[in-house]
Symmetry: C2
Subunit: 174 residues, 2 copies
């Protein structure tokens, strides 16, 4: 098995303050994404403080059902470094990653994921994240991810992208 999660190494290089700064950037980007006709999500791939990928959700903008913010940020980062494996990277996301994004992060060997809003926010905004988790996992959360792989940090503005989405009369639900 090709996994190399490097969690101890990655934890030494990040701090709670940095985590919150990057999450806030994701939240701001997700709000901007809604204003720009994208979905209410954004994500970043960060290595040693350097942003290697940063994206909003482009599903309807690009007619690409796989263009979740996390997937697009992973694709950007891997193209940028010229390697499909994002060792020593952290995936920050404005919202709890869906099953596709979790699996994509495993294939990318991302050792740590930090997110702000819970999947219940995505559901409040009309998305199928929880429904698909139940079909695949048989429960809301992935069953056996390594401890510390997936971490939620409460952010005061975590709901803002979804509030913006729900306030948008012409939003294109998908």
């Amino acid at each position: 098995m090709g996994l190399n999660f490097n969690q101890e190494r990655i934890m030494k290089k990040t701090s709670a303050r940095h985590d919150r700064e990057f999450l806030q950037k994701c939240i701001d980007h997700a709000v901007a994404s809604v204003a720009g006709e994208g979905g209410p999500f954004a994500a970043m791939i960060v290595r040693n403080g350097e942003v290697l990928g940063k994206a909003g959700n482009c599903v309807t903008l690009d007619n690409d059902p796989t263009a979740h913010a996390e997937v697009v940020a992973i694709r950007q980062a891997a193209a940028h470094i010229g390697d499909p494996h994002l060792l020593d990277c952290v995936l920050y996301s404005s919202c709890e990653p869906c099953p596709m994004c979790l699996a994509a992060s495993l294939w990318a060997h991302v050792p740590r994921i930090v997110y702000a809003a819970s999947h219940t926010e995505a559901v409040r905004a009309g998305f199928d994240d929880t429904a698909f988790a139940l079909l695949l996992f048989g429960q809301v959360m992935p069953v056996a991810l390594p401890a510390g792989h997936l971490q939620q940090i409460a952010m005061p503005q975590a709901r803002a992208p979804f509030d913006a989405w729900l306030a948008k009369a012409d939003r294109q639900q998908y």
Copy 2:
């Protein structure tokens, strides 16, 4: 929930003979993919007999950990029809889709998936499909997909792409 699986409609439009023809094309494409320095997988999106997307695995070719054959075929098809939802389509794959590809097919609202080789073939060739399924699903198979959503059809040459991969001395494992 935005799902519209349309399974009855899709089943009326396909036949076992067509299924086997498209699977054989996927297997041939997967063998060719290995010869072209891609991974040993290929997939197609087909609607009413028309191929809307067709791809081999491009993870190492494109430095894109999400470039599994199924994901690339889904992206091609959605771009082609200008809609992120692939209603009335069948996803054919040379091998059982991994968790990322299954979740991608749910987001794409693909109502039916047909594959040739079992995940055990991917594992034999050194891939982490089963390991990731265990981390996410807690078991090898997705827990609660609708009946008929995912169908394996035994094909005599299903192992050929993996045999070609394992015979390739300079293969780039990922």
